[in-house]
């Protein structure tokens, strides 16, 4: 894991001092709310329906157990005993007091954390594959590149007042677990025929009211050129991105209106000027950062354990969990474990302070002291020995973190909606709850297999409904909340925007409608191996429409 240098520490201390001063100026009335807003947003502080909300950065989703304990402490001391992991791998607190935010930042800085650029019209916290460094399908570890991007983008003097927010995601594996296609810039590490490492560069993806899949502007950019090329993209965007209309300000609109070809020309022309500058990465620059992400000390273990197999045979609950929430690890004898934050008892993504402390302890005991957060609002213990799985599972079960539903129907992404968000047009959490209650039967959910269901409480699409196999968007029609259903979206390497299937459903009808969609799938799939998306792509919308609207 990246260890802060003296300079990194210094920067955080200075930032906290600066923000403390801004808060004081605001409280004294020297700073208007409008001006303060611009500053606080650059530090992750929103004003929400009931209170302030603080978004803390979890750079590329990586946490140490010590950091997790601090997050627990903040939840307990400054919030109401819980935090909320978001689709951008960050954690949000819903009830901090303005006066106390500088203190929270102090506590965070002590463990190399902060809220810098987690909101506002700047380059946001970079996201990545939660399995970075341990995945079996990895081409190269994306974390050193994420860290270089973190450093380059933090307080970038030219790009801190962009037309709109700017999100970057990096993935280094065959399978995309970072949803790169729906980011302003998405990077995928690839190798060319000569075995050299490079990047596929996607630009202009995003959700919100105009959902778009990113366009491939470079199919092989040498890794050394990563930052110069991004600087060129950002420079073109800062100059030409629209500022006249908030809804047209994202880079996706610029790419769309300029045309992919022309946009690429503009970027390449700018890049010519800077590609040989000191921002170009040398091997030693990359190596120095990569040294922070060297493999931990793994033991030499067999990929087989008799007691483990015994437990699988005798404990069906354990077997269910193993079936759904584990992933193979690149090292023999280890497994990756998904901690489901989607239990019937808590809103998607929520974790209590006690759970956080326990997770930190479990990470120390069973997983080399590290935790990752995922864009589907779950957590990961990435380095668990096969021989420890049964014990770990028992602990997780006691904590309510072992729901065997990873990548299954009830692994729902849901935004806070009307319960917290001032922009919401409908509730999302109660819908997620209703769906969880209705589909609690393990065998049914398991039989449905790999499927994604996401819910947003308004067109801004924080719940990623566009890229769900089954998406639900809450809208307000003449004072009543209704829910639009979209089908066929994907956030993976086959990324796609789902299509609205027909007229919206009321809150009472939507759960039944989802049930109908699932029935159509089950009736039409070729066999149990054919997942929902494949079936949908094969049979199209018609059979679903017919069943839903008759």
């Amino acid at each position: 894991m990246y260890q802060y240098s003296q300079a990194d520490h210094q920067l955080l201390l200075e930032r906290v001092t600066q923000f403390r001063d801004q808060v004081e100026r605001r409280l004294k009335g020297d700073l208007s709310e409008e001006e303060f807003k611009n500053q606080r947003l650059r530090n992750g502080l929103y004003l929400q329906l009931h209170a302030y909300m603080l978004r803390v950065a979890v750079p590329y989703g990586l946490l140490s157990s010590e950091q997790m304990r601090t997050l627990a402490h903040i939840a307990r001391r400054y919030d109401r005993g819980y935090g909320h992991f978001s689709t951008r791998q960050n954690i949000q607190y819903n009830w901090p007091k303005l006066e106390e935010v500088p203190e929270i930042l102090d506590a965070l800085a002590a463990v190399e954390m902060h809220a810098i650029q987690t909101s506002g019209n700047c380059i946001r916290n970079t996201t990545s594959d939660p399995l970075a460094g341990v995945a079996r399908d990895e081409i190269a570890d994306p974390r050193p590149y994420c860290e270089l991007i973190r450093q380059w983008s933090t307080f970038h003097p030219e790009f801190n007042f962009l037309p709109r927010k700017f999100k970057i995601a990096v993935s280094g594996a065959i399978h995309d677990r970072a949803a790169v296609a729906v980011h302003d810039i998405g990077l995928r590490l690839v190798k060319n025929d000569a075995g050299e490492l490079g990047l596929e560069v996607y630009v202009g993806g995003g959700l919100g009211r105009t959902p778009m899949i990113g366009k491939l502007v470079r199919d092989f950019l040498p890794v050394h050129d990563m930052l110069t090329y991004m600087e060129a993209i950002l420079r073109v965007y800062n100059q030409l991105g629209r500022r006249d209309n908030l809804y047209k300000a994202r880079i996706k609109i610029l790419v769309h209106e300029t045309g992919e070809e022309k946009f690429r020309e503009l970027v390449e022309a700018e890049w010519e000027n800077i590609k040989a500058s000191k921002l170009r990465l040398r091997d030693e620059d990359i190596d120095a950062i990569r040294a922070h992400f060297k493999d931990p000390e793994y033991e030499d273990l067999a990929d087989f354990d008799e007691t483990f197999d015994q437990h699988l045979l005798t404990d069906t609950d354990f077997a269910k969990w193993v079936d759904n929430n584990l992933e193979l690890h690149k090292k023999s004898g280890y497994r990756v474990v998904y901690l489901s934050l989607k239990s019937p008892d808590q809103p998607p993504g929520d974790v209590t302070a006690d759970q956080m402390d326990s997770i930190a302890d479990l990470a120390d005991r069973y997983s080399l002291g590290q935790i990752r957060s995922t864009h589907r609002q779950n957590l990961v213990l990435s380095d668990v020995k096969l021989t420890d799985l049964y014990e770990l599972w028992q602990e997780l079960k006691n904590l309510g973190l072992a729901t065997p539903n990873y990548n299954h129907l009830t692994d729902i992404i849901a935004c806070p909606g009307m319960d917290y968000c001032s922009l919401a047009t409908a509730r999302s959490l109660p819908i997620a709850q209703a769906l969880t209650d209705r589909f609690e039967n393990y065998d049914y959910v398991n039989d449905l297999g790999d499927i994604s269901l996401n819910i947003s409480g308004c067109i801004n699409a924080c719940g990623h409904h566009h890229v769900a196999n089954i998406g639900i968007l809450g809208v307000n029609k003449k004072g009543i909340e209704v829910y639009q259903l979209t089908l066929g979206g994907s956030a993976r390497e086959d990324a796609a925007i789902g299509k609205i299937i027909g007229p919206a459903f009321t809150a009472d009808e939507i759960v039944g409608a989802v049930g109908t969609v699932l029935d159509v799938y089950l009736q039409n799939r070729e066999d149990e191996e054919e997942d929902f998306l494949t079936t949908y792509r094969r049979i199209g919308q018609a059979p679903f429409k017919e069943q839903l609207y008759g």
Binding site: Q39, P157, S277
Partner: protein, 162 residues
């Protein structure tokens, strides 16, 4: 007279913003800066004068149009119509780093304490402050952050190459 900071010190602004260029009339004496359009229109006349010259750009103007005359210019004023509109940051960097402009680059408009740090890094050397800004606080704000990660107009290397 507004509040004005140059090279990190409170200063007197000796420049006259001059817009009366529509007619064929005589140009005033002294140091003047003129709008970009007027510059393009009466460039020859302006260059003949003996006093110092400046140009004020909109943040959508193409700085490359000034390239042939940069030697002759002493001041370029760039604007922040709203604090959230950051286009002039790019203009300043390109002027300094790409075109090598050595004269005064001045920030005008919504110039706030919380932004001067970024502005100076992009190559701004002077600041016309909004009236409500507190000059001592602004002066302090130049040094609020001592750590920088990226190269910009102030240093060309990113932190990992320094």
């Amino acid at each position: 007279m507004g509040k004005y900071i140059k090279d990190r010190k409170p200063a007197e602004d000796s420049w006259l913003p001059y817009t009366g260029l529509e007619g064929e009339g005589d140009l005033p004496e002294g140091d003047i800066y003129v709008p970009f359009d007027a510059w393009l229109d009466r460039r020859e006349d302006l260059l003949k004068r003996n006093s110092r010259l400046g140009v004020i750009l909109e943040n959508t103007d193409d700085i490359y149009a000034l390239e042939p005359d940069l030697e002759r210019l002493d001041l370029i004023v760039l604007q922040f119509p709203k604090m959230t509109d950051g286009r002039a940051f790019t203009q300043a960097r390109l002027l300094r780093e790409r075109l090598g402009f050595k004269g005064e680059i001045r920030a005008a408009g919504d110039v706030l304490q919380d932004q001067v740090f970024y502005m100076q890094r992009c190559g701004f050397s002077s600041f016309e402050l909004r009236d409500d800004q507190d000059v001592p606080s602004v002066l302090k704000a130049f040094d609020e952050m001592s750590v920088t990660y990226q190269g910009a107009a102030d240093t060309d290397a990113p932190i990992w190459r320094r």
